[in-house]
Each structure stands twice: as structure tokens, then as C-alpha cells.
């Protein structure tokens, strides 16, 4: 992509300095995302244009590349944020297929971990988006992802609340929501399946999961303690059987 963009610019002040900046940016991104490294061709050496133009351009190009990445992060999470009916867990299969399979920002294992971290932090579980955004594009990506995932529901809440009576009595809206409810249950099961596939490697994991189910159902323990408890349980088992 960097090479193509270079070819498109037919400026004669594009020179060795700029190519190296681009190459460094590209190598950094490639190292992060484990992609194949593209070859950067040397463009014709600098012409007689001012060095300042080269400098400005060299700074602008990595920013432009970063902006493209940020844009894809933003678009993805805005889309996610608009359809998470029925709670944060519903987004799990969807985000997984996008972030892991399509954009390659994380592995399946890392995604499962991100979900667990999202549970452990206070606040809604959608905050997992922050983690994914960070892995995709650094701190800025984390910010963009967070804003992206919460913005649609924010706007929709304001819109619906402002016309609350019309929203409530709208027959179509209500039946739409009634249709979604059972589907949410199915979606949650799919989410459990993907996390289970990615995160549980052994029978020990399965038994911890079963124990957790028991604790959750039988006692009114909050999710946070169950997750932490399970983590430390696994850790303890590891120490005992070393």
C-alpha cells in the first residue's frame, strides 16, 4: 500500500528521506501485525525542491497512514455499537470475526483474554473494545474504539428519550424488539462457543467452567469475583501440581 501511494505521487521532491520514513512506519506495523513485509522501492532521488517540504511530508505520511488505520477502527466499532441489542456479550462473535479474522489485530486467544479483562474492569463489558483498539492502533486507537462503540447507543438513547412517548407506542418498534429477544439467546450461545474454543485448552479448564456455572447459579456471587476466583484457582492448581 505504501508503495502504491508513492507511485501515485509524481512529485520530484519525494526522495530517500521520505522513503525511509515510510519504510520504518511500515516495518513497525508489519512487526506488530505479523504481515509480510512489502518491498519499498527507491524513488528517484530528491530534486531541487526545498528540504522543508520534504520534512513536512515525511511527518505527514506516517500520520496519514495512522489516520487510515484509525478510520477503520472507528468504522468497525461504530458499526458494532449500533447493533449490540441485548447486552455487551452479544458483540463477541461479531467483533471476533472482524478483529481477528479480517483485520488480524489479535489472535483468537488474545480476543478471549480481552473479553475476560473487559469483565474484570468496572463498567460495561463493551470496554473490551478499548483493548482491541489499543492493539490495533495504540492509545489513540483505544480512544477511537471506545468513542466508536458507545456513540451510537448514546445518540439513540437521546433520540428515543426525547420522543419517548412516540417510541414506546410505536407498534413496529416494539415488535422488532420482541423478535430480537430470542435471537439474543442464540447469539449468546454462539459467543460462549467462540470464547470456549479459543480460551479453554484442557479438561481442567472445562471443570473450572463447570464450577463457575455452579457458583453463579447457586449463589448470588457477582461476576467479578467468579472470574477472579477462577483465575486464581487455576493459578493455585498450577502451583500445586508443578
Amino acid at each position: 500500500m505504501a508503495v502504491a501511494r508513492q507511485r501515485r505521487l509524481h512529485h520530484d521532491f519525494v526522495g530517500g528521506y521520505l522513503t525511509r520514513a515510510l519504510a520504518e512506519e511500515r516495518v513497525r506495523q508489519a512487526a506488530d501485525h505479523e504481515e509480510q513485509q512489502t518491498t519499498i522501492e527507491e524513488v528517484a532521488p530528491a530534486g531541487s525542491k526545498t528540504l522543508r517540504s520534504v520534512g513536512i511530508f515525511a511527518v505527514a505520511m506516517p500520520i496519514m497512514l495512522k489516520l487510515g488505520l484509525l478510520l477503520s477502527v472507528a468504522v468497525l466499532f461504530l458499526r458494532m455499537g449500533s447493533v449490540t441489542f441485548g447486552g455487551g456479550f452479544v458483540m463477541i462473535p461479531l467483533i471476533e470475526s472482524e478483529a481477528v479474522d479480517i483485520h488480524h489485530w489479535l489472535t483468537h486467544q488474545e480476543f478471549a483474554d480481552a473479553t475476560a479483562l473487559g469483565q474484570i474492569t468496572p463498567g460495561p463489558v463493551l470496554i473490551t473494545a478499548t483493548f482491541i483498539g489499543y492493539r490495533a492502533a495504540g492509545t489513540l486507537g483505544a480512544l477511537v474504539a471506545t468513542v466508536g462503540i458507545f456513540l451510537p447507543s448514546f445518540l439513540m438513547t437521546i433520540a428515543a428519550a426525547s420522543s419517548l412517548k412516540r417510541f414506546r407506542s410505536n407498534e413496529q418498534v416494539q415488535s422488532f424488539l420482541r423478535g430480537i429477544a430470542p435471537a439474543v439467546v442464540g447469539l449468546l450461545m454462539a459467543a460462549a462457543l467462540s470464547i470456549g474454543r479459543a480460551g479453554i485448552h484442557s479438561w481442567l479448564g472445562v471443570s473450572i467452567a463447570l464450577a463457575a456455572i455452579f457458583v453463579l447459579v447457586r449463589f448470588r456471587v457477582s461476576a467479578f469475583w467468579v472470574i477472579f476466583g477462577a483465575g486464581f484457582l487455576r493459578l493455585a492448581v498450577g502451583f500445586l501440581f508443578r
Binding site: 458494532m80 455499537g81 447493533v83 449490540t84 461479531l94 470475526s97 478471549a112 473479553t115 475476560a116 479483562l117 474492569t121 468496572p122 463498567g123 460495561p124 463489558v125 478499548t130 489499543y134 492493539r135 492509545t139 483505544a142 480512544l143 471506545t146 458507545f150 451510537p152 447507543s153 448514546f154 439513540m156 438513547t157 437521546i158 428519550a161 419517548l164 415488535s175 424488539l177 423478535g179 429477544a181 435471537a183 439467546v185 442464540g186 447469539l187 449468546l188 450461545m189 454462539a190 460462549a192 470464547i195 480460551g199 479453554i200 484442557s202 481442567l204 479448564g205 473450572i208 456455572i213 453463579l216 457477582s222 461476576a223 467468579v226 476466583g229 477462577a230 487455576r234 493459578l235 498450577g238
Partner: protein, 187 residues
């Protein structure tokens, strides 16, 4: 009659004194910081703060907002917070309330993401996350079961649930497609 009007005016004045933009921000910041325990617990905390402690909303207003929050996309906690902020101080209040609520967990998550990079490959961390993941699966299953208990009563609902599961797992449908299709079926 005059006394009632006077009381109402005093009440409004009290609300506007406590529910300033900064006050809203800080209150929800506190909740965002201490709101462990998942959806229900957080909502309970919000209710305790807003209805009983600060008396910004009546209980019925709160319930109305919560019902609305659940029927929209996004988390019910987040939407409820947005609603409360909106009722108190318009869109600015809503923005400030949600930001305060989200900010602590966002910062925490960024910190965790940074640490994750460095610590993930240690065998101890590996085991820790193994436990975490097992618990998360359990949590999702239990949530699904509880929801299912409430929602799945008629046959078509069971079929919907089964279909959406199959659609995502086997056919790789996106959530958007499933949600839209399900909603249309509802209509």
C-alpha cells in the same frame, strides 16, 4: 396550594444546585470507578445514588429510563446513565454523565492492555487467563440461560434462538444480519 408550589420550586432549585454538569460528571465517575459486579449491580448502585441519595429522579422515572435503556443497543447501564444525564441537564448532561461513567474503565483497560503486552507470555499469566476464560464462558452460559428462562416460552422463540445460533456458528452470519432478520420476523 401555595405551599405546594413553593415546595416544588424549592425541590427544583435543590436539583439544579446538586446536578450541575460537574456534579453529574463526578457522581458517575465514582460509579464508573467502583461499579464492579456486572450489569445488575451497577444499575442498583446508580439507582441508590440517583434516586435515594441525591434524589435527582423519582423511582418511576428511573424505571422508565431503565426500560428504555434495555430496549436500545448498547449496555443498559450506559444507556441508563445517558438517560439520567439527559433528564437532568439535556444533551450536555448526558454527554458528561456517560463520559464520567466510562472514563475510569477506559483508562484501566488501556493500562491493562499495556501490561498485557509485557506479561502475557509468562506461564503464570497464562494459567491465570486460562481460569479467567473458563469463568467468562460460564458467565455467558449462565446469562444466556437466565435470559432464556424469561424469554423463551413459545415454540417460535426456541426456533429463533436455535436459528440465530446456527447462523452465526455455521454460516458465519454477522450479528447485524441476525438482528435485522430477527426483528423483521418479530414484525
Amino acid at each position: 396550594m401555595r405551599r405546594r408550589v413553593r415546595d416544588a420550586r424549592a425541590e427544583l432549585k435543590r436539583i439544579s444546585r446538586t446536578a450541575t454538569l460537574g456534579g453529574i460528571f463526578l457522581s458517575f465517575l465514582k460509579i464508573g470507578l467502583l461499579g464492579f459486579g456486572g450489569g445488575i449491580a451497577v444499575i442498583a448502585q446508580v439507582r441508590a445514588l440517583v434516586v435515594r441519595q441525591r434524589r435527582w429522579l423519582t423511582d418511576s422515572e428511573f424505571v422508565e429510563g431503565f426500560a428504555l435503556a434495555q430496549s436500545l443497543p448498547g449496555t443498559s447501564a450506559g444507556n441508563t446513565v445517558t438517560y439520567i444525564g439527559l433528564r437532568l441537564r439535556g444533551w450536555r448532561g448526558a454527554a458528561v454523565a456517560l463520559s464520567g461513567f466510562i472514563l475510569p474503565s477506559m483508562l484501566m483497560m488501556i493500562g491493562l492492555a499495556v501490561l498485557y503486552r509485557h506479561l502475557r507470555n509468562l506461564p503464570d499469566t497464562d494459567r491465570l487467563f486460562h481460569g479467567f476464560n473458563a469463568a467468562v464462558v460460564a458467565l455467558i452460559l449462565v446469562t444466556a440461560w437466565r435470559l432464556g428462562r424469561n424469554i423463551l416460552s413459545k415454540r417460535w422463540q426456541w426456533i429463533m434462538a436455535g436459528l440465530s445460533f446456527v447462523a452465526v456458528v455455521v454460516l458465519n452470519a454477522t450479528v447485524l444480519e441476525v438482528v435485522l432478520a430477527a426483528g423483521l420476523v418479530g414484525i
